[in-house]
Symmetry: C2
Subunit: 271 residues, 2 copies
C-alpha cells in the first residue's frame, strides 16, 4: 500500500517510516510545518501551503495518510498561505486557539475534506507499541497509586483533558493539561526537592492513557527514553500506560533506560 | 471569647488577628513552625515542640483555635521533639508524606486530640471573604470557561484534589495538584509565550473553589494581590471563586489590583 507520511518533529516519524518500508509499504514522506527534515527524500510542507502538498500526494497515489510526530505551533503573523492555504487558514487559526489537539484536529480535517483517509499507525506498524505486560516489577503501593491515577484520568477524560498524572503515596501530585507530560514531570522533580534524604527513594508513578475522545489516528500518547529520564529525575518508581494506547519511541533505548534507571514500565489492559 | 491563633506564613494571620481584636475577642497569638514572627507578642512554637505550646494555650484559657497561614514544611532530620513531640512525631511525618494538606490535617488532629476546638475563621472574622457578586464584568465567553472549570473541579473533588484550574476558550489549560495556585499560574504565563501579539488580549479564567473534602476550618483557599498579579501575567481575563469558599488576603490591595489589571473577580454561589 502507498501511504503518505505527514511527519512532525521528534524521532517517531523516522521510526514509523522505516517500519512501514520493512513491512513492504511504499511511503510518500512529507515534513509538516517547521519540523526538521529528518526523513529521506521528504517533501517539505509549511502548514500554510497545503495546495502543492495535496497535488503532490495525489500525483504519488497516496490516499491513506499517517500523521506522526510533534507539530510546531506556527506564528500566525508569519504565515504566507497559498491559494488553498487562504481557504484553510481560518481553520488553522481556530485550531491553534484550541491548543495542540486543536491544531492536529484542524490539520487532519483539512486532509479528510480533500478525500484522504487518516489511518492509525498502530494498526499498520508492528512493534510501535508494546503488548500488555511489565518491565520491572511494581510493588503493591505502586499498584494502588496506579489505580488512583487510572480512575482519575478516566474521570478527567469526559472533560476532554488528561492523558497523564503523577500519583505518590495515594496523593495526586500533578495533572497534565496543556503543558505536556515532560513539563509535568519537570514540575514533579522540582516539588521533590523539599524531601529529605530518607524520603528520596523512588516512589510514585506516572500514569498515562488516552482520553476517551482522543483521536488515536493522529494523536497517540508517546513515551520514550526522555520520559524514562524525567520519571527517574522526578524520583518516581515507574510508569503505567494503556495497552494499544501509546507508542514507544526508540524502543531499544527506552527499554534500556527502564532497566538503567531501575524503573518499572507496566502496560495495562484497558478493562 | 478567647481564641488561640496558630499562625503560619503570609499576611493572613495578621489580618485575622486584627479583625478578631476589632470584634472584641481576646487573642492568644502563636507562630507555628518556622513562620516569620509577624504577630505582636506571639509565642513561637516549632512543629516538634507542641508540649509547651499546649500548656501555654491552656494556661491562657484558649479553648478555641484558628489555624491560618501557610505552614512551612519542616525538614524531618532537623526536628528536635519535646516529650509530647515524640508522641506526635509519627503523625507529623505521616502527614508530611501526604502533602501540605496532610501536614495541616495532622497538626489539627494533634490539637483536637488535646481537647481544643478548631474553628473556621470565616465564621468569626467578618470581611475575611466577599459575598456573592462581581468586581468587573465577565463576558459570555468567560462565563462558559467558568462553567467548564467549575464542573471540572466538582468532578476532581471526589479524588480529593483540585482547588483550581485555568480554562481558556473552552480548553482546560492547567489543573492544580500539589504545586499550588501560584505555580500553576506561572506555568500558564509560560505557555502563553507562544501566542502572537493579536492573541495576547486577556482571555481565560482562573477558577478556584474548595474540594468537597476540604476542611474549611484550617485549609481555606486564599486569593490576594499576588494572585491578581499572576492572573494578569498569565494573560487571563479574570477569576471565579466560590462564595464562603475563600479568604481574600489584603482586601483593599486585592480590590485595587483587580481594577488596576482590568480583571474581573466573580464570587459565585455554590448552587
Amino acid at each position: 500500500m502507498r501511504i503518505g507520511l505527514l511527519a512532525g518533529s521528534g524521532s517517531l516519524p523516522r521510526q514509523v517510516h522505516d517500519a512501514l518500508l520493512n513491512e513492504g509499504h511504499e511511503v510518500v514522506p512529507v515534513m509538516l510545518g517547521d519540523a526538521q527534515p529528518i526523513l529521506p527524500d521528504a517533501t517539505i510542507c509549511p502548514l500554510d501551503r497545503p495546495g502543492r502538498l495535496i497535488r503532490h500526494l495525489r500525483a504519488k497515489g497516496a490516499t491513506k495518510l499517517i500523521m506522526i510526530g510533534r507539530l510546531e505551533r506556527p506564528i500566525v503573523s508569519t504565515l504566507r498561505p497559498d491559494l488553498k492555504g487562504w481557504r484553510i487558514l481560518p481553520k488553522i487559526i481556530k485550531g491553534l486557539r484550541q491548543g495542540d489537539d486543536g491544531l492536529l484536529r484542524a490539520v487532519a480535517q483539512i486532509f479528510e475534506d480533500e478525500g484522504f483517509e487518516i489511518i492509525n499507525p498502530l494498526a499498520y506498524v508492528p512493534n510501535l507499541s508494546l503488548a500488555a505486560g511489565s518491565f520491572g516489577v511494581p510493588h503493591v503501593a505502586h499498584l494502588e497509586d496506579i489505580n488512583r491515577g487510572w480512575a482519575l484520568l478516566d474521570d478527567l477524560s469526559s472533560h476532554d483533558i488528561g492523558q497523564a498524572c503523577v500519583v505518590r503515596a495515594g496523593n495526586v501530585i500533578a495533572i497534565e493539561a496543556a503543558e505536556g507530560t515532560d513539563a509535568m514531570l519537570e514540575r514533579v522533580a522540582d516539588l521533590s526537592d523539599g524531601r529529605s534524604g530518607r524520603q528520596r527513594q523512588p516512589s510514585g508513578v506516572l500514569v498515562k492513557k488516552p482520553k476517551s475522545a482522543q483521536d488515536m489516528r493522529f494523536d497517540l500518547p508517546a513515551i520514550g527514553p526522555r520520559t524514562m529520564e524525567l520519571v527517574a529525575q522526578a524520583g518516581l518508581a515507574g510508569i503505567c500506560v494503556a495497552a494499544d494506547g501509546f507508542v514507544l519511541a526508540e524502543p531499544e533505548a527506552s527499554k534500556k533506560a527502564v532497566a538503567e534507571y531501575d524503573l518499572f514500565l507496566l502496560i495495562r489492559d484497558h478493562s
